[in-house]
Each structure stands twice: as structure tokens, then as C-alpha cells.
């Protein structure tokens, strides 16, 4: 049987999935801990990408800038929680939908105001070639981005599963009241979830600058994909987000090749609708 471009597509799909996974894990972590969907998640990614761009202008390559960008986004996320999201939680349930949506509009507006709508990219000096593996050819930037995302995702997973703080977070996401009774500081857990969730897009943003360009509205497409991934894996499930992301990566790459690149996102969005309607708890979800 002639496989044609299939192996190449599968590898590309999985690699794309690793980066989606990192973005989606941040989103699902925040959701899991406090039942808030951060509609501005894509805009946090956009900020991370601009930051990476800024670092590259002073000579720091994206891969080296990654820890700094992730740290900056951690602080930013925790800050946004402390001064803003905390108040939304006290309001009616719609407040957190609108509040984070307002944040989306505000951050996009600020980016447009300061950086204009121009599309910008990093002058990537380190990874320019391609790796060959039999019939499969992978661009070095894609490979580095995917492996980097995989490493960060594993670090996050280990943190959530095996550290005291991570266990506290999981307890909070399972039952907030019980967690409070167990002496877990829920406010601290919430702030931490926003910090870590934002640090995930920080790392993802740095890695994405190897292969993508940044502009004020870049976040929307990634955020929407992340919603799909999170729904697919089950809102709140870290492992689910990882599996869902690879699925979405494959669907996007295969759809783009076999149907048309212009409509590659249609199967992804259809996937969301089908999953939430038929299996609202997601593929690996617990509720």
C-alpha cells in the first residue's frame, strides 16, 4: 500500500498537538481549580509572543527567553487574579464570562495601540534547517517548538501529580469546600492556578515565535483551538488536555491536507460541537 504523505502528516499533526497541549493545559488548570473559563487566554499568549519578540530584539533567542517569558506571565497571571478575577468570582456566574471577555478586548486594544496591527516575527538565527527521517521531513523550528512544549508539559504534569502544592490544587478542583476544611488556602491556590496557567501560555508563546508571527489578534485562533482541546479532554482534566491536543493537531493537519488548508479549522470546531453535545464530560473528563 502506498502511504503517500500520511506519515509526514501524522508526525506534523502530533508535533502541532504538543504546542496546543501546553496552551490547553494552562486553560484547563485554571478552569479545574475555580470553574472559570479564561476567555482572554489567547491574549495572554499574544502578550507572551510580543515579550519573546522584545527579548529577541535585545539579542535573546526565543529558546533562551522562554524561562523569562514564562516567569513574567506567571506574575502577570497571578496579578490579574489578585486585582480582578477574584472580584468576578463574587458576582453572578455570567460575571466571569464577561469579565474575562472584557480582558480579551482590553488586551487586544492595548496591543493594537502600542504595536499597531502589523504582523511581526522573530529573526530566528538558531534553528533554520530541517531533520530528515526516512520519508519524513521536519523543520527544525517545528521540532524544537514541539519538544520544548513536551518538556514543559511533562514538568507541569509532574508538578501537579507529585508535589504538595500540586496535590492541594487537585484537591481544590475536586471539592472547594472540602479543600477549605482541610486547611488549603483556596485564594492562594486560585492565584497559583492563574500564575501557572499563564506561565504555560508564556512558554508556549516563546516556542510559537519560532514558527509563527505575532499580531494583536493572533490569540483568537489559538484560544478557540484550546477551548476545543479542553472540551475534548474534559474541562479540568490535565491528561485529557494532552490527549485532546494531539487529536486536534491531527484533525487540523489531516483536514488541511485532504480537504483544504482554508477550511482546516471547520473539522476542529465541529469536533467541539459533537463532543460537548454527545459527551459533555469530555473523553477523559470526570464530570
Amino acid at each position: 500500500m502506498e502511504l503517500g504523505p500520511l506519515p509526514q502528516l501524522l508526525v506534523s499533526g502530533v508535533l502541532a498537538g504538543f504546542v496546543f497541549a501546553l496552551i490547553a493545559m494552562g486553560l484547563t488548570l485554571i478552569f479545574g481549580v475555580m470553574d472559570v473559563v479564561n476567555f482572554a487566554h489567547g491574549e495572554f499568549l499574544m502578550i507572551a509572543m510580543y515579550l519573546t519578540l522584545g527579548f529577541s530584539l535585545v539579542g535573546l533567542q526565543p529558546v533562551l527567553a522562554l524561562p523569562f517569558v514564562a516567569l513574567a506571565l506567571f506574575l502577570f497571571g497571578a496579578f490579574v487574579y489578585r486585582i480582578f478575577v477574584r472580584r468576578l468570582l463574587e458576582g453572578p456566574p455570567e460575571a466571569s464570562i464577561f469579565g474575562t471577555f472584557g480582558l480579551l478586548v482590553l488586551l487586544q486594544g492595548l496591543a493594537q495601540f502600542f504595536f499597531t496591527s502589523d504582523v511581526r516575527s522573530v529573526n530566528n538565527a538558531w534553528f533554520t534547517g530541517a531533520v530528515r527521517l526516512g520519508p519524513i521531513r521536519i523543520g527544525e523550528p517545528e521540532l524544537v517548538a514541539a519538544l520544548g512544549a513536551l518538556v514543559v508539559a511533562i514538568v507541569l504534569y509532574v508538578f501537579i501529580e507529585y508535589t504538595e502544592t500540586g496535590r492541594g490544587m487537585r484537591a481544590t478542583s475536586e471539592d472547594r469546600i472540602a479543600a477549605t476544611l482541610m486547611g488549603i488556602d483556596v485564594q492562594r491556590m486560585n492565584a497559583l492556578a492563574w500564575g501557572i496557567g499563564s506561565a504555560c501560555v508564556g512558554a508556549a508563546g516563546a516556542l510559537l515565535m519560532l514558527t509563527y508571527q505575532v499580531y494583536p489578534r493572533v490569540g483568537a485562533e489559538f484560544a478557540l483551538t484550546a477551548f476545543v482541546v479542553v472540551a475534548l479532554g474534559g474541562f479540568g482534566s490535565i491528561q485529557g488536555a494532552f490527549v485532546g491536543a494531539i487529536l486536534v493537531g491531527l484533525v487540523e493537519v489531516l483536514g488541511g491536507f485532504y480537504i483544504s488548508p482554508a477550511v482546516k479549522l471547520i473539522p476542529v470546531y465541529l469536533l467541539y460541537l459533537i463532543v460537548v453535545l454527545l459527551r459533555p464530560q469530555g473523553l477523559l473528563g470526570r464530570r
Binding site: 473559563v37 480582578f84 472580584r87 468576578l88 458576582g91 453572578p92 456566574p93 455570567e94 460575571a95 466571569s96 464570562i97 464577561f98 469579565g99 471577555f101 472584557g102 480582558l103 480579551l104 478586548v105 482590553l106 488586551l107 487586544q108 486594544g109 492595548l110 496591543a111 493594537q112 495601540f113 499597531t116 494583536p216 483568537a220 478557540l224 477551548f227 476545543v228 472540551a231 483544504s260 482554508a262 477550511v263 479549522l265 471547520i266 470546531y269 465541529l270 467541539y272 460541537l273 460537548v276 453535545l277 459533555p280
Partner: protein
């Protein structure tokens, strides 16, 4: 109910007088935009305010109306036929999409609306019969109600005012009907509403169909006004967002919320931003986004809710 009608009458007279007195095309343009946004916000409010199902996909219905008008112009039909078919298409899509999606609540529903609208946008960008990503430019015709093209902005303001009055009247009727009570009950507690015989999905579906039809009507007016439709400026997510934000800023589920939201939008986002030289540079987004954040965090009942509280307090004091 009577106070609502009186305020509506006064508002319409005031807007009409304002439009007749000012000659400034920029102000007339702003008035038209504010009225259109008030219509869009109110239509959105029926589903997302009264019934509490937050839609971020109303650009799809807006696009139905806009493309209905554009197609009619392209194929030399009457614009009124285009408007009617746009409304029918929007209602049909609302029925087809709403039926499955009203099984969802909260963010599941909101994200579903984004996904559906995004699918629609991608489809239109690739559909030859809608001229794809390029969009459709209207052929000019002699001015008049038959062609729905005018040489001055004044008729547009009056047309939008008429539609606004219609939508406000519909909302007053809604508030004083079984449907209005049911939608509010569904928003407050769907389970308890079902326990007294309210079929949430059926009522939400009716609200969505009405909302889609009104949104499509506004969409076709907008297209006839600008004489061009492009997927990017008609169907993209930012359009859905601005429709929703008008409703939120004004106050969810309140008769005068969307109108106040639209006024705020027109004044803050367009006028102030233009005065500061920031239009097209995102300053309108900054102002508006900031406002939404403040309202969500401090006053979830919006401007209309705040005004009502003020009046209630004054009544208590006096």
C-alpha cells in the same frame, strides 16, 4: 409598562429632533450606529440577558441579513426581498443550531456559539456564490425606498429609529408576557422553572429565533448603509463581541440596557477615541474593554441596573 412607553416616545422624539437639527454627517453617522447597536444589543438581550444564554456568535445572524441584501443587489432583485430572505435564513439557522445547543449551558453554550459562528465565517470566505473572502460591493441605484439607497444620511437615521422603536416595543411586550416571565425564570433557575411546567428549550428557541431575525434585519440595514459586505467586517468574532458588549455594559435583561450600552459605545468608543486620534489604533477597544472589566467586577447589573438603583434610593429617601 406605561412608563416604558412614555420613555420610548420621548426618546424617539428627541432623537428625531436631534437628527433634524444637526447637519454634521459625522454626528448623524454616529446616531445611526448607536441606534443600530441598540437594536443589535436588544435582540441579543432577549436570549443572553432575559434567558441568560450568553451568545458570542450573533455575527452569524448579522451576516445573514447583510448577505441577503448584498445578494439581492448583486442579482438585481429588490433589497426588500433580500432583507426578507436574510431574516428567514437567520431564523432557520437559529432553529437548526439552537435546538441541539440549548442542551448546553454556561461556558459550554458560549463556546459553542463561537464555534458555530466561526464555521459560518470560514464557509463564507470559501463560498463562491457569496464571492468568498472578497465580499460583495453594491451596485449603485437611484435613491429611494425602493432601492434602499439614499443620498443623505438623514433617511438612514429615521429608518434605524423606526426599527429601534419596533424592537423596544417588542421588548416591552415581552416583559409583560408569559414568555418574558418564563425566560427570566429559566435564567434564574432552569430546574425550578421546569418544576412549574416551563419547557426551557422550547422558550429559549423562540427567543433565539426572534433574536436572529431582528439581528438579521439590522445586518441588512448596515449593509445597505455601507454598500459593501466583507466576511472580515461582517462575520468575524469582533462583531459578535461588540454586539454582546453593548448588552452587557447597559445591563442584562433590562429594557433600557442595550440602548444605554449603545449610547455609551457610540460616545466612548467612537467619539472619544476619534477625538483622541486613536480610531483604528485600538483605543476604542481599550476604553470599551476596560469598561466591561469594571462593570463585570463592580456592577454586574450594568448601567441600566445602576440607574434603577439610583431611582429606587431616591424614592426611599424622598
Amino acid at each position: 409598562m406605561r412608563s416604558g412607553l412614555v420613555i420610548l416616545l420621548v426618546t424617539c422624539v428627541a432623537v428625531a429632533a436631534f437628527a433634524l437639527i444637526v447637519q454634521n454627517p459625522f454626528l448623524l453617522d454616529l446616531t445611526f450606529a448607536a441606534l443600530l447597536y441598540a437594536v443589535l444589543g436588544q435582540a441579543w438581550n432577549w436570549v443572553s440577558g432575559y434567558a441568560g444564554q450568553v451568545s458570542f456568535g450573533h455575527a452569524l445572524f448579522f451576516g445573514c441579513g447583510a448577505y441577503g441584501a448584498a445578494l439581492a443587489n448583486w442579482h438585481h432583485f429588490s433589497p426588500w426581498l433580500g432583507i426578507a430572505s436574510g431574516i428567514v435564513a437567520a431564523a432557520a439557522i437559529a432553529l437548526a443550531v439552537g435546538f441541539p445547543c440549548f442542551a448546553l449551558r454556561g461556558h459550554y453554550f458560549s463556546i459553542a456559539t463561537i464555534a458555530v459562528a466561526a464555521i459560518g465565517e470560514i464557509y463564507v470566505k470559501n463560498a463562491d456564490w457569496l464571492n468568498g473572502a472578497v465580499g460583495i460591493e453594491f451596485k449603485l441605484a437611484s435613491a429611494g425606498l425602493g432601492s434602499l439607497q439614499f443620498t443623505s444620511k438623514l433617511p438612514w437615521v429615521f429608518l434605524a429609529l423606526a426599527v429601534f422603536a419596533l424592537v423596544q416595543l417588542a421588548t416591552i411586550a415581552l416583559e409583560n408576557s408569559r414568555m418574558g416571565y418564563y425566560l427570566r425564570a429559566i435564567r434564574a433557575n432552569q430546574d425550578a422553572a421546569a418544576s412549574v411546567g416551563v419547557d426551557a428549550r422550547a422558550w429559549e428557541l423562540r427567543a433565539l429565533i426572534a433574536s436572529a431575525a431582528a439581528t438579521a434585519l439590522a445586518g441588512s440595514l448596515y449593509a445597505q448603509y455601507t454598500l459593501v459586505v466583507e466576511p472580515e467586517s461582517i462575520l468575524a468574532l469582533p462583531i459578535s463581541i461588540s454586539i454582546a458588549l453593548v448588552g452587557v455594559v447597559g445591563g442584562l435583561g433590562q429594557l433600557w440596557g442595550p440602548a444605554l450600552g449603545a449610547l455609551t459605545y457610540a460616545f466612548l468608543a467612537k467619539y472619544v477615541a476619534a477625538q483622541l486620534g486613536g480610531s483604528g489604533r485600538g483605543l476604542d477597544l481599550v476604553i470599551y474593554g476596560g469598561l466591561i472589566c469594571l462593570i463585570a467586577a463592580l456592577r454586574p447589573s450594568g448601567i441600566a441596573g445602576y440607574v434603577r438603583e439610583l431611582f429606587a434610593r431616591r424614592r426611599l429617601a424622598g
